[in-house]
């Protein structure tokens, strides 16, 4: 079985390595899962000390787990999922933030938009509903990432990509969290594709020793693998959850 290589050769600024991707047979999906599992094993060793109890963990994490368990016949590794808290603590989520693309003067701060989305998505774990407007804002951020292969610190209210503002790699972990939560609430193929690319990028950074928040990857990877395994099953492909 050949190794999964999309998390190993992110060619920043040279265009995505995803165009014209060749078909490599069924074993490609196994190599993808094996690669992601290996990263989770590494993270399990390095992040368990950072987990701590907060209201956020008590209220939101069980709902996330419940959603995954109800929607599938697999039980994700609770120990790993518990590490989600490390991510949310690391991200310094600000639930008071209420960013709005239309309410600010010309542009909105991406960090704030993501904070806002994550907060609302966590709330929505209870009701299962989140507004289409919030999804629309996340799609705009995803579009920037797809087109420019980067994120910038702010996004124009005119929905134009402004490359003149500073890039903001620090937003990637939050973006991954937002995508993971969004997909748990509502399947979306385009966002899942972006999520896979973003996680490839974050794993590449981790392996290069440049990860911004290594522990933040746990939730992102588990949520992504869950989405992929679920989608594969809908299509009659039985992937084995590692």
């Amino acid at each position: 079985m050949k190794s999964y290589r999309y998390s190993k050769n992110w060619r920043l600024g040279e265009g995505a390595p995803y165009s014209h991707s060749p078909y490599r047979g069924e074993s490609f999906l196994s190599s993808y899962l094996a690669d992601r599992s290996a990263v989770l094993d590494e993270l399990r060793l390095s992040t368990d000390e950072k987990a701590r109890t907060t209201t956020f963990q008590e209220l939101t994490l069980p709902k996330v787990l419940e959603r995954i368990e109800v929607a599938s016949d697999v039980t994700p590794n609770r120990e790993l999922m518990a590490l989600q808290i490390a991510q949310l603590v690391t991200l310094n989520l600000n639930p008071d933030c209420k960013s709005n693309l239309k309410s600010t003067s010309g542009s909105a701060d991406i960090q704030e938009l993501l904070d806002d989305f994550i907060y609302e998505a966590c709330q929505a774990m209870e009701s299962g509903e989140i507004s289409e407007k919030k999804f629309g804002q996340l799609r705009i951020i995803a579009r920037i990432f797809e087109v420019k292969k980067e994120l910038y610190s702010s996004v124009s209210t005119a929905r134009k990509i402004d490359s003149s503002v500073a890039t903001a790699k620090s937003t990637y972990p939050k973006f991954a969290t937002a995508l993971g939560l969004a997909l748990l609430l509502k399947p979306d193929l385009q966002l899942l594709s972006t999520f896979l690319k973003l996680n490839d990028r974050l794993i590449f950074e981790l392996r290069s020793g440049k990860a911004l928040a290594p522990e933040s990857l746990v939730f992102s990877i588990v949520a992504e693998m869950f989405e992929v395994v679920s989608l594969a099953r809908v299509h009659g492909i039985n992937l084995v959850w590692p």
């Binding site: 079985m1 050949k2 290589r5 999309y6 995505a16 390595p17 995803y18 165009s19 014209h20 991707s21 060749p22 078909y23 490599r24 047979g25 069924e26 074993s27 490609f28 999906l29 993808y32 929607a71 599938s72 579009r143 797809e146 087109v147 399947p187 979306d188 193929l189 385009q190 899942l192 594709s193 972006t194 896979l196 690319k197 992929v228 679920s230 989608l231 594969a232 809908v234 299509h235 009659g236 492909i237």
Partner: protein, 255 residues
Amino acid sequence: MFGLEFGLIGAPTGRTLAYLKRLYSDCLIPSWIALVDSDFSKPSDEIEHLSGRNPEDWPEESEEEVLRKQNDKSSVLDWLAKRGVGFIALKAKSFNDPLVVEFVSQIDSKYIVYSGFPGEIVGPNFLGTAKKFLHVHGGYLPDFKGNTTFYYSLLEENKMGASSIFLDSGLDTGPIVNRLKFPPPKTREDIDYAEDDRIRAITLTNALQRISDEGDSLKTEENSGGKTYYVIHPVLKHIAILSQQTHGGKGVHRN
């Protein structure tokens, strides 16, 4: 009866070859054919045909192989030569090159079939030549705009689609001449090479026939809204190819 006068301008790619084969097979013969390429003296190397071999044995760096195979210049030129079909060689790297723009602006055809380089976006000078450029997008518009939409639509609804549009300055936003849906192919591994081109070629000839039949009374369809997709991640592409779904229906919802 087909009475439409039209030309074809294309890059020497597999898609252009598929269009030509279908057009000649259906007796929809273009008045002229122009090929755009930077060097007509050096046909591409013999492309190793990968299908039929175990995918695990394919070369490690084969995105380039995929691209080369799609742009197999020699096969287009060979096909034309074998049939004694002449073409106009426009030596340029891009359809936005002034040489190409000048050629198009001088040519006396209202309708021109466009088969460009993969990923190239034509600019205002090319589009400003006041011709009707007929382009076939590999997705059912306006629902599936953007890139690799064949795979997204297979995952979403287990169908493939294609739409003929008149090019405008937007991405897949031109008015729709016709759009068709197709069942998934029996062999999905060859979508990039064979099925993509086959479906687009069928949609193209269908559109030309419609333009011929309806002439100036042709009514195009609105192409606003829909969703824009970006290059699909290889994991999702593999699920689309390996899918066991045999009937249509939503392919993404849980519960």
